[in-house]
Amino acid sequence: MDSSYNCVAWAAGVTTVPWWPFEWPYYWPQNVPLEESITAFVAAFATLRYVECDQPDLEDGIEKRAIYADAQQVPTHVARQLADGRWTSKLGDLKDIEHATLADLAGGLYGTPATFMKRLVAGGSDNRTRPMRQGSD
């Protein structure tokens, strides 16, 4: 078990501190509402230059994230797209995995993919393992 980071941090490229709109020591970007809402999660990833998009399909030069939410539209999970179109997710405190589709994690505790975000790939490299930014306290 590794509580050093969670799914949101993993999707943000961070492995040193978990991200969530909650009290310390969870990290949440400054000036982003400290609330469990899709809007707040979108705003959090906007600080990393992500913008909302319509679909999760792989596109050249674009990296995507998928925000899952439950039936009440409360965010539950975030997945990171890999260069080959598959996805990677940190399962809470448990290990991070790769999964072929977003549906592989949908339907249970994580709810369903609710919102997608995208940005240009930095330097054209595979973002699978390289942390792009560290969280702060």
């Binding site: 509580s3 050093s4 799914c7 909650f22 020591p25 969870y26 539950t76 809470g92 405190d93 505790l109």
Partner: protein, 122 residues
């Protein structure tokens, strides 16, 4: 030389005087804690949301064990990890913060374990 500073969390249980020298730990409490902690881990280790973790019935019942749970929580934090900081802060009314180091989950965990050792719990 302590490696943490103590702060009072803003949401500590009100009017609670915590006596670290008299935690009533007996086998019954230990068994109850273990069952609740196992239930909590099984249900929430897969979740990223700390609010879901602390709202879980098992976690709330562990907080309800009050001081008796503190050494048991610290043992579980030491042996298994997990987001126990919230429960410890609410029960003890204190919040050890890492000193001279970045506040990561790992350093906060170390601060709590050091505090627990200093208090004689573990």
């Amino acid at each position: 030389m302590p490696t943490y500073t103590l702060e009072r969390p803003t949401a500590a249980l009100p009017n609670r005087r915590y006596n670290p020298k008299n935690p009533a730990v007996n086998q019954g409490v230990r068994n109850e804690f273990r069952a609740l902690a196992d239930w909590w881990h099984e249900a929430t280790d897969v979740l990223s949301s700390p609010s879901q973790k602390v709202k879980h019935r098992a976690y709330q019942r562990i907080i309800g064990l009050r001081e008796a749970a503190v050494p048991l929580i610290l043992e579980d934090l030491r042996d298994h990890g997990g987001y126990w900081f919230y429960a410890l802060e609410r029960i003890t009314g204190t919040c050890p913060r890492p000193k001279d180091r970045p506040a990561t989950f790992a350093t906060v965990r170390q601060a709590w374990l050091k505090w627990g050792s200093d208090q004689g719990f573990i």
